[in-house]
Assembly symmetry: C2
Homo-oligomer: 148 residues x 2
């Protein structure tokens, strides 16, 4: 699962993408319109600023805006930044690899092999889509496989 914080980050960034090139957006506007607790959002946005994804303007008429054009911010990047990794298991991360505790040697671990492959598939998709893309809100239900 993505943490609440990661979800808030993504929605905040989407909001900024929607207002790209329309001047800074105030924190309160984002909080209200995206239904994110105000105080928590200050923490989240400050982090995004520190990471270089967002630019802030202080003082009167301040606010936030994306540091890059929406098309250059891919969902994969956002998740890697806020969550550290795309992988579902620490040892299957390509960029933040860590050993799993109580596991077999990695060279023998079949779970790891599977999770690496899965990670790569997820990355392929998430790195293809950017904040500029219109995402289908309700993708067609896949009917070619069982639904347990």
């Amino acid at each position: 699962m993505l943490s609440q914080k990661t979800r808030y980050s993504i929605r905040a960034l989407q909001h900024l993408a929607d207002n790209w090139r329309q001047g800074p957006v105030r924190l309160d506007a984002i909080a209200v319109q995206q239904n994110i607790p105000r105080k928590f959002l200050t923490v989240i946005l400050s982090e995004l600023v520190r990471e270089g994804l967002v630019i802030s303007h202080r003082g009167r008429d301040g606010g936030y805006e994306l540091a890059l054009p929406p098309v250059d911010i891919r969902y994969g990047d956002i998740i890697r930044l806020t969550r550290g990794s795309l992988a579902l298991v620490p040892c299957a991360s390509r960029n933040a690899h860590e050993h799993c505790s109580n596991c077999l040697p990695e060279a023998e671990c079949r779970l790891r092999g599977l999770m690496l492959t899965l990670r790569d598939e997820m990355a392929a998709m998430l790195d293809r889509i950017s904040l500029a893309d219109r995402v289908p809100v309700e993708p067609p239900f896949p009917d070619t496989r069982p639904v347990t």
Copy 2:
């Protein structure tokens, strides 16, 4: 991330798959060979028994074995059973749908749209592979996309 418990479950099931049709495997054998804390494994295996994936034999010469041929146990099933859902966000689950807290109405949520699509891709892969499949332990590094 998959919880430690889910990872243990998968490894335990893989172990049973390796011993398919060779009589019951004792809990201690699994614990030692898979490096899983014994007491924790009792909890995990009991759950798998209750869920019908595993059969247990009590008493002397007891142990565990898969309830189905390995080919009929797909990774997607295991994760759905032990973790409740494949989705990365509660509102994007096909089989255990829940509303996310502090979100927008689902019909407008772009994060949900994206996560549904991702869930479907993950499911396609995880439901294709079963415990009978030999998983490549080290898949080729994908070089067609950026590695952050």
